[in-house]
Subunit: 523 residues, 2 copies
């Protein structure tokens, strides 16, 4: 594999794990990290509804696909669907899918595949019980305690990408962590892809909002990974999220995105935008049935474009606050929908995508309890790709620097929680119990002295000082402590190695495309 030549030159990264980082925490403070190593979810997926109920909802999805059909705004997609046996209207605008066609087509979607990074040590498994925690994406605004809430900028974009690279428990970027509004939209995707490919060596994502967005991104990844076109087609390097324009509609760009990406064997993440009460029925069962109908249509289409193309079943179902019409996230309904949607992804034997979401306007107690309700729903639903894992706020309107760090702490804790219980003669420690004696204390025992430094998860944000010491240290909230940490991390950030020739080729491509005017925009 050619890409070996890239990684050969990379200096051996300091491999940290929870144990060694415990010790470092004491000397370096606040930079405690777990290792990059992808976590595996040890919990058996939860079946919230039974087989009969699954079938009832699935039947409703099939009824929708067979009777109401999907509106499509892309002639090429219509032709592909027609050629594959779907019932496409004469004007190419509506398509009905027979349930047998859907079932047959989705069979070729892979259950598990590798998502390749520029640094092969950061390749990711997609599927099974492997987990990917991806950085926040697609927020128009950004916030931090110092400057408050403001529109996203290139400076913020770069900072957040750097944090995504620096934070080990962040496995990939996934869309613009905030929209760099000061970069003209015609060339924004070029600058963004260059930043992802040079400031990080982790897996990345491109948008399919315009056909050239993803073709440019694939070409830039090819250059950065030092691959031939054929090699690219053999390995999934990039994810692209395809949102159904719910209800029951896929627009031109989304369908074109599937065509461009799936034909190159790149990863499509089908994600219907089914907010119950707005873009889906005001009942959870109906919203899930609609999500599943839209998802199945998208899944089947990827396989019509190229059988075996990697595709992920995405769930975003939540509810709208019926008082204000605002989307709500991390609600009990979200948690339930995340678990149930996972049942469908497993039924169709494809990897599963969800998000770490909340609707709080400030990084406070609500932000984390809603995030936790999301994350646990995702984990119990056996998520594979958790988008917006770090930094998402306000239902996706804001990326918060402090929330990135709080999410990092929570995800590190999940990673530690996933570790199997270490049971051995040493850890059962009967001799230590004997040494402590009845009513005694364990601080002084040999076993404690030998193991205390690495025994437990060492926190990044959680402050376990007693109240008096916490006051002496400035009575800081967790959010204020997070503010100090992201600044420290930006200083600690190190740009990953890239061969100079590759960098030059990448720059040349960007310059060429800029001269060509980038992509057409509506602006």
């Amino acid at each position: 594999m050619e890409s070996n030549s890239i990684t050969e030159h990379i200096p051996k990264r300091r491999r940290q794990n929870a144990r060694t980082s415990n010790i470092e925490a004491r000397t370096k403070k606040n930079t405690t990290q777990v290792s990059f190593k992808q976590p595996f979810n040890p919990l058996r997926p939860v079946d919230f509804i039974n087989e009969e109920e699954i079938e009832t909802i699935e039947n409703a999805s099939f009824d929708i696909l067979e009777n109401l059909g999907i509106e499509i705004l892309n002639d090429q997609a219509a032709e592909i669907m027609r050629a594959n046996g779907a019932d496409v209207s004469q004007d190419n605008r509506f398509v009905r899918f027979d349930r047998h066609l859907i079932k047959e087509k989705i069979k070729t979607a892979p259950e598990k595949f590798t998502y390749y990074a520029r640094n092969e040590e950061k390749n990711l498994q997609v599927g099974g019980n492997a987990l990917i925690f991806a950085l926040v994406g697609s927020t128009p605004n950004v916030s931090c305690l110092d400057k408050g809430r403001r529109p996203g900028s290139w400076e913020d974009f770069v900072n957040l990408v750097k944090l995504g690279q620096h934070i080990n428990v962040c496995h990939s970027t996934s869309g613009y962590p905030t929209e760099p509004l000061d970069i003209h939209p015609s060339i924004r995707h070029l600058e963004a892809a260059r930043a992802f490919l040079t400031l990080t060596d982790k897996c990345f994502h491109c948008y399919s909002l315009n056909p050239f967005m993803n073709t440019d991104s694939i070409e830039m990844a090819r250059i950065a990974y030092n691959l031939t076109e054929e090699e690219v087609n053999e390995r999934p390097l990039i994810t692209s999220v395809i949102n159904a324009n719910s209800p029951l509609k896929y627009d031109y760009s989304m369908l074109q995105g599937i065509i461009e990406m799936s034909s190159r064997n790149q990863i499509i993440v089908i994600t219907p935008f089914t907010l119950a009460g707005a873009m889906a029925p005001v009942s959870l069962a109906g919203a899930i049935a609609q999500q599943n109908a839209e998802g199945l249509a998208g899944l089947a289409f990827t396989q019509m474009v190229r059988p075996g193309a990697p595709v992920i079943y995405g769930a975003f179902t939540s509810n709208v606050d019926m008082k204000t019409g605002a989307p709500a996230f991390g609600t009990p309904e979200y948690t339930k929908a995340a678990i149930i949607s996972g049942q469908f992804a497993r039924r169709y034997k494809v990897p599963y995508r969800t998000s770490n979401v909340n609707a709080a306007n400030i990084v406070d107690a609500q932000a984390t309890y809603e995030s936790q309700m999301s994350i646990w729903g995702n984990i119990l639903g056996s998520v594979n790709l958790m988008k917006h894992s770090l930094g998402w706020m306000e239902g996706g309107l804001v990326a918060s620097y402090e929330k990135v760090i709080l999410d990092m702490e929570m995800l590190q804790q999940f990673k530690e929680f996933f570790e199997p219980l270490d049971i051995s003669e040493d850890t059962l420690a009967i001799n230590s119990i004997k040494e402590a004696g009845h009513g005694g204390h364990f601080f002084g025992t040999k076993h404690t002295q030998e193991n205390y430094e690495n025994a437990f998860y060492s926190p990044l944000i959680s402050d376990w000082n007693n109240f008096e010491n916490w006051q002496i240290l400035g009575s800081k909230t967790a959010t204020q402590r997070a503010n100090e940490i992201w600044k420290k991390m930006l200083i600690e950030y190190q740009q990953p190695y890239m061969d100079i020739a590759i960098k030059e080729e990448l720059d040349a491509f960007v310059e060429k495309r800029k001269k060509e005017g980038g992509i057409k925009t509506d602006f």
Copy 2:
């Protein structure tokens, strides 16, 4: 049943559920409550370790009980244990339990029982997949945003008890919600029991820190419930937590507490205090093995006192912060221990107790993410009695008024999450999808108009306004909003009915015991 006469006179409570309260929320704001109805956990308990691993840990527990034994500081307990076949040292100070004796004895502990309230509509099921969320207990300090952190007082005690009564998702009190330090300890238990029995009509708890504490409390409950002594012995009315003085020790009062309570068929909650690294080995496996040894000894003793006496297997295992020696809660280790300990409770076929814990010094993002990590560990461990469900902070050093309300919100959300998915022709809402049309909107559909008011959980604290409206409303954090709500709830609180004759008898008992000097104290 005599107690019927009590409840006959109680005016029909307004029975709220999530649906009706949704509507009320719009008119009354911030007093949204779910119904009192006990929730049932629909999730299959998680087996974090396998059968072989369970046996390995259990064997270690049995080795501890057979070889190291337990220190006991109560001659009467020693005699009971000796009479039941345990190997008690001549000086009555140490006792070794054969594994077969333990296994045989715990067989008589009931798997499920009823915990009786003064108001029989608030009786609780203990065991199976029924859940009890109990108010915070035993904190020496109290805090609120208005007055900050200070030692607990009678005023705070009464306020918190009233909140415990008013909040439907709080199913019982469970110890002093804060220690009323301005009441002399010799009579504190009398005032406390009177408050629990008159200000609430929910199940309650007494301490066994002094033998007369629990005998007084049982007698006061007998009066308040209008029962005969024999009737009391037939129905569990009171829980009392028995903490092992870990490692491997039960002191005089704890053992006497078991004798007094179990002989009267009252509920014992055996809870070893196994903080890994301090009172237990610095490894989780060792801490759980020790917790299980101490727990089994306590469980077996309750059954020696009275076969069939109700007893709950309690887990409190967490870890100490090895940097400061301070206990840490809501850690990944706590979550894991809560799930694994549940496996032991189920193995022994007894109900299971845990706690909603955190170690934060302020009601911030840390407080709720640590609480969530606790609650989810408890739920996945299939907890039955979750103590400190509302209000606990700082590893148990503080009861926070605001945290009571934040916990209420989180528990209400769990209760809503537990509700089965409603699947019917109406909720699948195909007609609504048809009416909205491709790319349409659901706000205006008939189905939405008919159902929007009651469709989703209506939050108490979560603010889903957009940023601009949130700013207009004062840019309040979740904790600041909680501050407003507990004040409103104290105004809304209504004292439950009690027959005047019963109230007089209760007062007379308290006066008599006060004149007698209450209990002996060390002060």
